[in-house]
Amino acid sequence: MFRENRREQILHSFVNLSKEKAFKKAKSLDKDLKENKKIGRLYGLPLANKDLICVRNFPTTCCSKILSDFRPPYNAFVIECLVENEGAIHIGNTNMDEFAMGSSTENSCYGPTYTPWDISRVPGGSSGGSAASIASGQAILALGSDTGGSIRCPAAFCGTVGLKPTYGRVSRYGLIAFANSLDQIGPITKCVYDSALMLEVMSGKDPLDSTSVDTKIDNYTIEIKNPIDKKVLGIPKEFFSEGLDSDVESVVRKAIDKLDSLGAKTIDISIPHLEYTVATYYLLCMSEASSNLARYDGLRYGDMSDNLSGDVYDVFSRTRGEKFGQEVRRRIFLGTYALSAGYYKMFYIKALKVRSLIKNDFVEAFKKCDSIVCPTMPSPAFQIGEFIDDPLQMYIADILTCPVNLAGLPALSIPCGFNSNDLPIGFQIIGNYFDEKGILNIGYQLEQNLGIYRKIAPITKGGK
C-alpha cells in the first residue's frame, strides 16, 4: 500500500500518514474475509482524507500551524460512513491550502504539493493533495471539500474526477469550517463510477448536521449507466467569455460535441450575473471565515504563542498572528471588516442579495435544461509561485466554480482532454438541486466515450 513512496517524495500529497492503523485495519479486514463476515462496499480501498475532515485521534490540522497536532476525539460523519461502515482504509491526510483558502495548495504550512502531470506546476486547490494522491495512484478514494471550487479545481488540474454535491447532501459534521454556508464535502477519484459509489455511501441525513437534507439517495452506481439521449444540456455563454484559455475552450467544445453525438441536445443559456460572482463569493466566504476561525485562540487546543506576556487579548492576538498564514489572516481581516458596524449593509447584506440573484439565474436556467456544461477552470494548472503574490488573479481563477457554491448546486468535474503541454483540462457539469444522478450519468457516459481517464500521469517536469 505504501510502495508509492518515491512518487510521494516528489509530489508531497500527504501531510500525515496513518501507516500503523492502516496495516492493522487491513489485517482485520483480511480476517473478516476469511471468516466469511459481511464485508463493506469499499472493502479494503485506500482512502486519502483532506486534512480538514476529522479522524478520531489522528492529527487533523487544516495544514495550519494553529492546529498542529490537533487530534479530534471523534470521526466526521463521512469517515464513519466510508471507513467504519463500508471498510475503506484511511491511509493518511492530504495537503491543502491552509483552512482550504486557496486554489493552488501553496498556502500550506507543510509546503506545496505538485501536480503529477508537471511537477513545476500546482495541483490546484484547495484539495490539491487529495487530487494529486488519486492522479498518482496512491489512493483509490479521496475526500475533498469544496467552498468555491476546492474539489473541482484540483480535479481539473490533476486530471481526476471531483464531485461537489448539493449543499446539504452530505453531512458536514466533522468538516472543519471555512465558510459554512458554502462548504460541502465530496469525493475525488480516478473515474466517475468511484465517485458515484462514494456518494452513495456517504449521502443522507445526519442528525448532527441540521443543514443535511433528508432526501432520496439514488442508486448512482447503477443510474450512471443510463443513456443520455434525452438530456438537454445548457451552455452558458458567459462561461466561455474572454479570459478563457483557448486550449481549454477548444477541448471543452470538443467534449460537448461528443455529448451531442451521444444524443444529448445542447442549447444556449445565460447566467447574467456571473461577472459579480467572484466579488460576492469572496465577501461571503471571508465574512463567514472571520467568525468560523475565531475559535482558534490557542486556549483549548492547538498551538499557542510561546510568549505569554500581557493580558489574554495580547496572547490571543499574538497566537493568531504567529500561527495563521498570510492568506488566512488576509481573509480574516477582510471578513471582519465586511461584518463591522457601518459596513455590514454595504458589503455583507449586499452580497447576500447578489447571491440570491445568482441563485435565481440558475433556477431560471434549469427551467430550460437538465444540466449545464462548461469548463471547470479558465486555464490548466499554472506554475508554482505564478500567482502567489497576486491574490486577485488567484481569486479570479474561481470564477467558473464559485457560482455553483453560491447557488448550493451539485457539480462534477471530469478530465476531457489535454492542452498542448499535456496538461489535463477539466469539464464541468452543473446539475439541478439534488440531481447528482443526472450529472454523474452525463459524466460517466462522456468519460467512457473519451477513454482518457486511463492515462497515467508521468510525474515529471513538463516540456515546453
Binding site: Y173, A177, D209, T211, S290, A294, R295, Y301, I349
Partner: protein, 496 residues
C-alpha cells in the same frame, strides 16, 4: 421621592437559564451541571471543537414558547439564530449563538407584559422581546478578578440554554424592578422551565437613566436580590453627579457585589461591535400556530389564575391570595395542608395562610432557605392550628416552636421534648397568682384605676411558668382573687 422617581427610567435585560431542560441548547450534554466536577458535562460540540455543529434542542423551543405565552408575547413564526462575535476566554467559539432583532433578524417573541402591584397600584411592565441564546463557560478566580493569580475555565455551563427577557425602559424605581422580578420568578416557576434558586441561574443587566440624560448599563448583577441594591446605588450615583454639576456619559458599568458599587467598564466610544450575522449551521426555526395552541393547551395553572381560584375556594383576601401564589411551592404546601383537614373552614383557611405567610416565611428568610429544603410537612400547620384553637397551647408557644416544626418534629414531640404543656392545675396557678399579687402591690393598686393593669399581673404568672400557665384559667383566678380583695368590682373576664 415619588416625584423624583418619575424621572428615573430603568430597562432590564434578564437572563434566565432554562435549568429544567435535560440537555443543553445545542448538544446532548446533561444540563444539570450544578455541583458537578468542573468540565465533566462537556462534549466536542459545547466546547466548540473544530468541525462540530450545533443542533437546536426542541424542548428549549417548547420552554420558550411556554414563557412567551405566559408573558403575552407575540411569538415569531419564522426566525433564525445569529452569531454574536467577540473574543473572551469564557467563549468556546469566540462567538455566541444568539438571536438578533435587527438586520432582518427576529427575536423569539416580541412585546408582552407583566403586571405588577406596588402600594396597591397596578402597573404594566411592557416587554420588548424575549430570545434564546447559549450560556458561555464559567470563569473561576481565586478571590476577586483583579487580584486572582489565574483564571480557570469551567465549560460545564457552556451551551446551557439562556432565555433573555428585555423590558422597555418603563420601570421607574428599584421597588418596581423588585416586584417585576418577583412576578417573573413566579411565572417561570409555575411554567417549570427553570429553578431560579440555583446559583448562577439568573443574570441581570440594567439600563438606568435620569430623564434627559445619558444612560448607563450596569452588567453582572447575578441575583434578583442584588438588582434592587444595584439600581439604588446607580440612581444615587447618577443623581449625585448631577447635583455636583457633573455630566453623565453613556457607559457600561460593572456591579461589584462585594463592594456594592458600580464600576465603569467602557464608554460609548469603546462599545463592542458584535458583528452579528446569521448562524448558517442552523436552519431557520418554524413555529406554527397549531404548535403554539398545543403548548398553550398544556400550560399549567398560572399564578394569577390560581390566585382567583384560592379566593373562590378558600375565601382568602386578594392580598393574601396574591402573596400566597407567588411561590408555587408555598401555594402547593398551603393547598396540601388545608385540604388534608376536613374540619377546616374559612377561619382555619385564613389562619393557615397567616402562619405560612408570616411565621414560616419569616423563618425561611431568616435562614435563607426554601420550603422544600426543610422537613416541614403541611399537616404540621394543621396540627398547630388545632392545638391553638383547642387551647392546648398558646399562640405565643406556637410561635416559639416554629423552629422545631421546620425541622420536621410533630407538635406532640416538640411539646414533650420541651415540656411546654399548659398548666391547668388550678391550685398551683392560684398559689402563683397570690405570689404575684403580693410581689406587685403597685400594679395591684393600678388595677383600681385601670382595669387593663390586670394583664400585667397575668403576664407575671406566665413569666413564673415560662408561658405554660393556661391563660383562661389564670385570668379567671386572677379576677377572682382581685375581687376577693375588693380591688375590682366588675368581672373583666374576656375571651382570648
Amino acid at each position: 421621592m415619588s416625584n423624583e422617581s418619575k424621572n428615573v427610567m430603568i430597562g432590564l435585560e434578564v437572563h434566565i437559564q432554562l435549568s429544567k431542560l435535560k440537555t443543553k441548547l445545542f448538544c446532548g450534554c446533561n444540563n444539570d451541571y450544578h455541583g458537578a466536577e468542573p468540565n465533566s458535562h462537556v462534549c466536542p460540540i459545547c466546547i466548540g471543537l473544530p468541525g462540530t455543529l450545533p443542533v437546536v434542542n426542541k424542548k428549549a423551543i417548547e420552554f420558550a414558547t411556554r414563557l412567551a405565552i405566559a408573558l403575552n408575547c407575540d411569538i415569531n413564526n419564522h426566525f433564525w439564530f445569529f452569531r454574536k462575535n467577540y473574543f473572551y476566554p469564557d467563549m468556546s467559539k469566540n462567538f455566541q449563538i444568539s438571536q438578533y432583532n435587527k438586520s432582518g433578524g427576529k427575536a423569539f417573541a416580541d412585546n408582552g407584559k407583566i403586571t405588577i402591584k406596588l402600594n396597591s397600584q397596578k402597573k404594566d411592565i411592557i416587554l420588548n422581546r424575549i430570545h434564546l441564546e447559549e450560556d458561555p463557560a464559567r470563569l473561576v478566580h481565586k478571590g476577586s478578578i483583579a487580584t486572582s493569580p489565574y483564571t480557570l475555565v469551567d465549560y460545564n455551563r457552556s451551551g446551557v440554554c439562556l432565555i433573555e427577557i428585555v423590558t422597555e425602559p418603563v420601570i421607574s424605581s428599584p421597588e418596581e424592578a423588585r416586584e417585576f422580578l418577583k412576578q417573573l420568578k413566579s411565572i417561570v416557576q409555575y411554567l417549570e422551565i427553570s429553578n431560579l434558586d440555583l446559583e448562577g441561574s439568573v443574570r441581570v443587566d440594567a439600563n438606568i437613566s435620569i430623564k434627559g440624560y445619558e444612560r448607563s448599563e450596569v452588567k453582572n448583577i447575578n441575583s434578583f436580590k442584588e438588582v434592587e441594591r444595584a439600581l439604588r446605588h446607580e440612581i444615587i450615583r447618577q443623581k449625585n453627579l448631577l447635583k455636583r454639576g457633573r455630566e453623565l456619559i453613556q457607559e457600561t458599568r460593572h456591579w461589584d457585589d462585594k463592594r456594592r458599587i458600580t464600576i465603569s467598564m467602557r464608554t460609548k466610544e469603546f462599545e463592542a461591535d458584535y458583528r452579528y450575522f446569521p448562524e448558517q449551521d442552523l436552519v431557520p426555526i418554524e413555529i406554527d400556530n397549531n404548535y403554539i395552541q398545543k403548548v398553550k393547551d398544556e400550560l399549567p395553572e398560572m399564578p394569577n389564575e390560581r390566585s382567583i381560584r384560592l379566593r373562590r375556594d378558600y375565601l382568602l383576601s386578594e392580598f393574601d391570595s396574591d402573596n400566597l401564589v407567588l411561590d408555587k411551592e408555598l401555594a402547593d404546601f398551603y393547598e396540601d395542608g388545608v385540604n388534608s383537614e376536613a374540619s377546616f373552614g374559612p377561619n382555619e383557611y385564613k389562619q393557615y395562610c397567616n402562619w405560612l405567610m408570616n411565621d414560616i416565611l419569616r423563618w425561611l428568610n431568616e435562614h435563607d432557605n426554601i420550603l422544600k429544603d426543610t422537613k416541614i410537612h403541611p399537616h404540621q400547620i394543621v396540627d398547630l392550628i388545632n392545638y391553638v384553637n383547642e387551647g392546648k397551647i398558646t399562640t405565643k408557644i406556637a410561635k416559639s416552636i416554629i423552629d422545631d416544626i421546620m425541622k420536621g418534629f410533630s407538635i406532640q414531640e416538640i411539646l414533650e421534648m420541651k415540656n411546654k404543656k399548659r398548666i391547668f392545675n388550678e391550685k398551683l396557678l392560684r398559689d402563683l397568682s397570690n405570689e404575684v399579687i403580693e410581689e406587685n402591690i403597685k400594679i395591684v393598686k393600678d388595677c383600681r384605676e385601670n382595669p387593663k393593669a390586670i394583664e400585667a399581673l397575668i403576664g407575671r404568672v406566665m413569666g413564673k411558668t415560662r408561658g405554660q400557665a393556661d391563660p383562661h384559667i389564670t385570668r379567671t383566678i386572677m379576677n377572682h382573687l382581685l375581687k376577693e380583695k375588693g380591688i375590682i368590682s366588675k368581672n373583666f373576664l374576656k375571651t382570648e
